[in-house]
C-alpha cells in the first residue's frame, strides 16, 4: 500500500499539519533540518540503521549509519564554529558527490549557517558571481577544485576560510586555506544545534535568470515540512527502501530529495559519485538492490539508447517505484520504462524556487504518459490566460503555469534582490515561467518555457550569462545565445557569434570558444554549436532579437518583425 493511498481523498481536508505532527513539530518550536535528519532519527531508535551507501568512481564503497552521519555532521559543525562561523553566514559546498558534501551540508545547517551548494563543474567565473553575490564566508571544497577558488580569491573580500576536506599534505596550504579531515578528527558526540525557527534561512541555491546574473533562491528550515511529505507521498519512501536519487546536490533536487527528505524520513539511500554509463548504472541498481529510483529524463533517454538487452543482463527485480524530474518526461520514456522495468517513471514537476514537488503523478493514480500530473495536495495550481492574468475558464488551452504561493518550502526571496522576487508574481499568482495546458480531468501537460532560459538535461542556463562570457573572448564582437533541440538533453546551448576584425571563422576558433566557455562558466553552458554570422538580428534600438534566432532553430513561425532593424 502506498503512503498516499487515494490522491482524491488526500486533496480533501488537506493540511500541512499532517507533516508537522509526524515530525513532532509544533508551530513556534525550534526546527533545524540538520537535527531532524540525524539526531531525531537516532532518537527514534534507528542509530544503527544504514543512512548512506556511497560509492566513489574507483568503486570503493563506504557505509554510514544514522549515528555516523550524526557524529560526522556534528564534527563538521563544530569545526566551522571553531573557525568563528555563525548562524546566517553563507558557507558554500563546492565538491563532487563525496560523503563530505552530504555531511557538510547537515553540519552547516546544524550551526544555523546557510548552506550554499554549487555544482563542482562550475568554472571560476560562475563560482565568482555566486560567491560574490552571497558574500560567502567559507567554502568547503576538495583539492581538485580549490584552484578555481584560488583564481578568484583576490576578488572575494568576504571569503575568510577555504576548507579542504581531502588535503593530503603533499602541497602546502595557501592563503586563507585550512584542512579538515573527518577520518583524523575526533568525532563530536554532542553539538548544540543552533535554535533555528521556521523562518530561519537554511539553503541558498543559485538559479539562472533571463536577463540578469544568477539569483540566490533563499529557503528556510520550515521547508522540511513539505519536502518530508512530498517525498513520502510522491516518492513513496518506505522504511525498508533503498533509495537512489541520481541528482547532484549542486542543484535543488540533490538537496531537497538527495539529503533533506530521505534522511528526515530515516531511509537508506545510496550515492554513486561517477560519470554516467549505462553499464555502471544498471550494475549499481542491481548491487544495491535499489527499490526507489528518482532520476532525470536525460539519463532515462541515455539508458533507452543503450537498448533493452543490457537491462535483461541485470537483476533489477528490487525496483518498486520510479520517478523523474528536471525536464518534461516524454511519453516514450514512460512506456519504455514500463516495458523494461515493469514500472513507469512517474514525472514530477517543480523548481528551485518551489523547494519541493508541486505538480506530480502519484502512486495509484492513473498515469497519462507525457503528462506532468496534478498539483500536490495543499498546492493550488492553475493555467493563466496571459492576456488577462486570470485562470482560463475552460480546459485545454495553453497558458502560464501559476501557483498560489503558500506552501512551506516555497522560496522566501531572492537573495538581496526583492525586486526580482516581486516580478515573479502576477495578480497574486506565482509565475513559474513555464507554459502548459490542463485537460478536463485536471492533468497538466507541459508546453514549453515562457522565457529564454535554456533547460539542458534538466539544468537551467541563462543565455545572458553565456552571451556576457562570450564577449570576453578576444575574437568575439557580438553574441546571441538560444536553445536548440536535442534528442538526449531536450535542449542544448547554441551561440551565434560575430567576429572582430582580424579574426576568421574556423574549426579551431570554434573549439577554442567552446572550451573558453566550458572553463569560464561550466560544461553545461558551453555552446554545443557556434554559428559564425556577419550580423545579428536587432531591433531599431539595437537590442538583439533572440526570439528570431530561437524560432529558426525550432522551426517555428518568426512572428512580428516590425521592430527589426533591417526590415
Amino acid at each position: 500500500m502506498s503512503h498516499i493511498g487515494s490522491y482524491e481523498q488526500r486533496i480533501t481536508n488537506f493540511d500541512w499539519s499532517i507533516a508537522e505532527k509526524e515530525l513532532g513539530y509544533n508551530p513556534g518550536d525550534v526546527i533545524n533540518i540538520g537535527w531532524y535528519a540525524t539526531d531525531r532519527i537516532c532518537q527514534l531508535g534507528k542509530a544503527s540503521k544504514t543512512a548512506l551507501i556511497h560509492e566513489g568512481f574507483t568503486g570503493v564503497e563506504k557505509r554510514y549509519t544514522y549515528n555516523d552521519i550524526r557524529l560526522a555532521s556534528n564534527t563538521i559543525g563544530a569545526f566551522l564554529r571553531g573557525l568563528g562561523l555563525k548562524n546566517e553566514d553563507r558557507v558554500c559546498l563546492f565538491m563532487d558527490r563525496i560523503p563530505e558534501l552530504y555531511l557538510g551540508f547537515l553540519g552547516i545547517l546544524k550551526i544555523g549557517a546557510i548552506a550554499q551548494p554549487l555544482f563542482s563543474a562550475f568554472g571560476d567565473e560562475s563560482l565568482h558571481v555566486r560567491l560574490s553575490n552571497a558574500e560567502t564566508s567559507a567554502v568547503l571544497t576538495q583539492k581538485k577544485h580549490v584552484f578555481k577558488v584560488r583564481k578568484i580569491l583576490d576578488r572575494l573580500p568576504h571569503l575568510k576560510h577555504i576548507i579542504i576536506v581531502d588535503h593530503d599534505g603533499k602541497s602546502p596550504l595557501k592563503e586563507r586555506e585550512v584542512a579538515l579531515s573527518l577520518e583524523r578528527s575526533k568525532p563530536v558526540e554532542d553539538l548544540e544545534c543552533f535554535p533555528t525557527k521556521a523562518e530561519s534561512p537554511s539553503v541558498l541555491h543559485y538559479t539562472s535568470g533571463t536577463t540578469g546574473m544568477p539569483k540566490g533562491v533563499q529557503h528556510v528550515h520550515y521547508s522540511l515540512i513539505s519536502q518530508y511529505l512530498t517525498a513520502k507521498w510522491v516518492l513513496d519512501l518506505q522504511e525498508d527502501d533503498i533509495y537512489w536519487c541520481t541528482a547532484d546536490p549542486g542543484w535543488v533536487t540533490g538537496t531537497s530529495y538527495g539529503i533533506i527528505a530521505p534522511f528526515s524520513l530515516g531511509v537508506t539511500q545510496c550515492v554513486l559519485d561517477a560519470g554516467f554509463s549505462t553499464e555502471a548504472w544498471y550494475r549499481f541498481l542491481e548491487k544495491n538492490r535499489v527499490s526507489m529510483w528518482y532520476s532525470a529524463p536525460t539519463a532515462i533517454r541515455s539508458l533507452m539508447k543503450g537498448g533493452d538487452e543490457i537491462v535483461q543482463k541485470h537483476d533489477l527485480s528490487s525496483l518498486r517505484h520510479l520517478a523523474s524530474v528536471g525536464e518534461p518526461l516524454n511519453s516514450e520514456a514512460v512506456v519504455w520504462s514500463e516495458r523494461v522495468f515493469g514500472k513507469p517513471f512517474l514525472d514530477t514537476y517543480w523548481q528551485t524556487e518551489t523547494g519541493c514537488i508541486v505538480i506530480s503523478n502519484y502512486p495509484g493514480m492513473e498515469v497519462r504518459p507525457g503528462s506532468m500530473g496534478k498539483p500536490f495536495p495543499g498546492i493550488t495550481g492553475t493555467i493563466l490566460d496571459p492576456t488577462r492574468n486570470e485562470p482560463y475558464s475552460v480546459p485545454g488551452k495553453i497558458g502560464l503555469v501559476a501557483l498560489r504561493f503558500d506552501w512551506p518550502s516555497r522560496m522566501r526571496t531572492y537573495w538581496r534582490n526583492p525586486e526580482a522576487f516581486q516580478k515573479k508574481f502576477r495578480n497574486g499568482w506565482y509565475m513559474t515561467g513555464d507554459r502548459a495546458r490542463m485537460d478536463k480531468d485536471g492533468y497538466y501537460w507541459f508546453a514549453g518555457r515562457d522565457d529564454d532560459i535554456i533547460n539542458t538535461a534538466g539544468h537551467l542556463v541563462s543565455p545572458f550569462e553565456v552571451e556576457s562570457a562570450l564577449l570576453e573572448h578576444p575574437a568575439v564582437a557580438e553574441s546571441a545565445v538560444v536553445s536548440k533541440p536535442d534528442p538526449l538533453n531536450l535542449e542544448v546551448v547554441k551561440a551565434f557569434v560575430t567576429l572582430k576584425p582580424g579574426f576568421a571563422a574556423s574549426p579551431d576558433l570554434d573549439l577554442e570558444i567552446m572550451n573558453f566557455i566550458r572553463k569560464k562558466l561550466s560544461p553545461l553552458a558551453m555552446p554545443q554549436e557556434i554559428e559564425f554570422v556577419d550580423s545579428l538580428p536587432k531591433t531599431r534600438s539595437g537590442k538583439i532579437m533572440r526570439r528570431i534566432l530561437h524560432a529558426k532553430e525550432w522551426g517555428e513561425e518568426i512572428g512580428d518583425t516590425s521592430t527589426l532593424e533591417n526590415e
Binding site: 554509463s277 574549426p507 579551431d508 573549439l511 566550458r518
Partner: protein
Amino acid sequence: MEGLKDVILQYVTKEYLEDDSEPLDYETPLISGGIVDSFSMVSLKRFLENKYSIQIPDDKATPEAFDSVTKIAALVEEFVGKKG
C-alpha cells in the same frame, strides 16, 4: 597508435586537468572517473574531428567509447581508417 594516444593524452591533460592534478595514463577512466563529463565530451569529440578530419557519429560517441585514451584512440582509428 602510440602517437595517436599521446596526442589525445596531451590534449585531455591540457584541457581537462589542472597543473597539480594526478597525471593521466592511457587507461585512466575519463568519463566514469569524473575527469570529462558528458557535456565536455562534445568539445573533445570536436577536437578529434578537427584534428583528424573525421566525423564521429553521435551514436558512436558514447560515454563508454570515451572512457579512456586507449578507447578513444581505437574509435579514432576506426574512422581514420575509413577515410582511406
